[in-house]
């Protein structure tokens, strides 16, 4: 009896200890200025530290590879305008794969270097010139300030992105109960078929 009680307590502790999650590979990539930031790890919080992440184009050709840091975080600067696939082998049959659409990059000018974006800016000002002084208020933000704001917004959004990734991986009670319901339903049907067969055999002369 004491053992049974211990067993029940152990089971209770385990049920209560953690939420519904499992050791699933999680890979998320998101745009960050002219770079692509990504995170790779397991759903129990272990991150893939110092792992090689291979970068493929949409045809499956390997373009490049990067290493994750100690927190499973990596930054990749695309050199071509193609959709990317990031892939990392975490061993033991765990493959992390995440696709990235190049059109998501906000600062595509960055692809061809800072020089061109500055050139664009200059021409923009020139074109704005004949409009008169009404546009001059918009130019009040310098390039450096703009970049600083972009960096701040990125930093502010990062936790939000992580939360969205975590939310996507969350297994809520409904899907757990739904799964159990499917299982019972499935075996219920199997039981019905088996019972019908039994009855049909029994009614044979």
């Amino acid at each position: 009896m004491a053992k049974l009680a211990t067993g029940i307590i152990i089971a209770g502790v385990m049920f209560g200890a953690h939420g519904a999650q499992a050791h699933k590979v999680i890979a998320s990539v998101f745009p960050s200025g002219s770079n692509v930031e990504g995170e790779i790890g397991f759903s129990n919080g272990d991150m893939a530290a110092d792992t090689v992440v291979e970068v493929f184009d949409n045809l499956g050709n390997k373009i490049d590879q990067v290493m994750t840091d100690g927190d499973g975080f990596f930054i990749y600067t695309p050199s071509e305008k193609v959709d990317l696939v990031f892939r990392a082998d975490l061993g033991a049959g765990h493959i992390a794969e995440a696709g990235f659409a190049i059109s998501d990059l906000s600062d595509q000018a960055g692809l061809t270097g800072e020089a061109q974006s500055r050139a664009n800016e200059k021409t923009g000002i020139k074109q704005a010139g004949p409009d008169g002084s009404s546009r001059s208020g918009n130019v009040a933000i310098s390039r450096e300030q703009e970049e600083a704001i972009a960096a701040i917004v990125r930093d502010e959004l990062r936790p939000l992105r992580r939360e969205i990734t975590a939310y996507k991986e969350k297994n809520d009670l409904q899907s757990v109960l739904g799964g159990i319901g499917y299982i019972f339903g499935f075996f219920g049907i199997a039981y019905y078929i088996a019972a019908r067969r039994l009855k049909a055999e029994a009614s044979k002369p």
């Binding site: 067993g7 499992a22 590979v25 493959i95 499935f186 019972a195």
Partner: protein, 224 residues
């Protein structure tokens, strides 16, 4: 434990699929009608077990409960674990649909082996000894699964020894935890419903019962 989509070579996927279908067929053939509810319950147990996390040091492991399924079900563990894996892949994204066959074989076949090795001794022992054997069966089932996973990865191009080592050592905490939980479950079954773990006797009993049921149903059918 669950191999994901894209980790294995196509030949391994096809081979796993064929073996899984063979195991499923065998399991369904050996599924007597009175074992269907038990199969469903163990399938649901397996489905939910992967969501139960046990903290081990800084990390955590999740339960699998395949050994218990093997002990109670024998070959029928194949359909039970297949259904569990299918729904895990659909609902939680564990593993994947293309690797379903390989995962089924990797998890269900060790369960069947552990079941056949320990079923007799568990059924003959008193509850305490049965719990110990049940725990060993649970742990053995996991260690065999790591071996099978390593073989699958080797056939897809990995070197066997490093792959096997990596998978085996990563699963040692799971084996320990799984052993304890299987032991507790077997102890409970031996106390509450030992017939679940009886094999030969139960089969005979079933044969007698089913002939009576058949006779009764035949009469019912005649009565209209």
């Amino acid at each position: 434990m669950h191999i994901v989509d894209g980790a294995l070579a196509p030949e391994v996927l096809i081979g796993g699929g064929v073996l899984a279908v063979a195991g499923l067929g065998l399991g369904l053939r050996k599924l007597p009608i009175d074992k269907i509810p038990a199969t469903g319950v163990l399938s649901a147990t397996f489905f939910v077990a992967s969501l139960i996390h046990v903290p081990v040091g800084p990390s955590s492991v999740h339960l699998i409960m395949s050994g218990l399924a093997g002990l109670v079900l024998g070959w029928t563990a194949f359909p039970a674990l297949f259904v569990g894996l299918l729904l895990q892949a659909i609902f939680f994204g564990f593993g994947g649909l293309t690797v379903l066959g390989v995962n089924t074989v990797n998890i269900a076949f060790p369960a069947v082996i552990a079941g056949f090795m320990f079923r007799g001794v568990v059924a003959r022992s008193n509850p305490t000894a049965a719990a110990v054997w049940g725990g060993i069966a649970g742990a053995l089932s996991i260690s065999l699964t790591t071996l099978f996973v390593a073989i699958s990865l080797t056939l897809s191009g990995d070197a066997f020894i490093p792959a096997a080592k990596l998978v085996f050592f990563a699963h040692i905490p799971i084996m320990a935890v799984e052993g304890f939980v299987s032991a507790a479950a077997v102890y409970l079954i031996m106390k509450v419903k030992p017939a679940l773990l009886m094999t030969g006797d139960q089969a005979n009993e079933y044969a007698v019962q089913s002939s009576i049921i058949l006779a009764e149903q035949a009469n019912e059918a005649n009565n209209g």
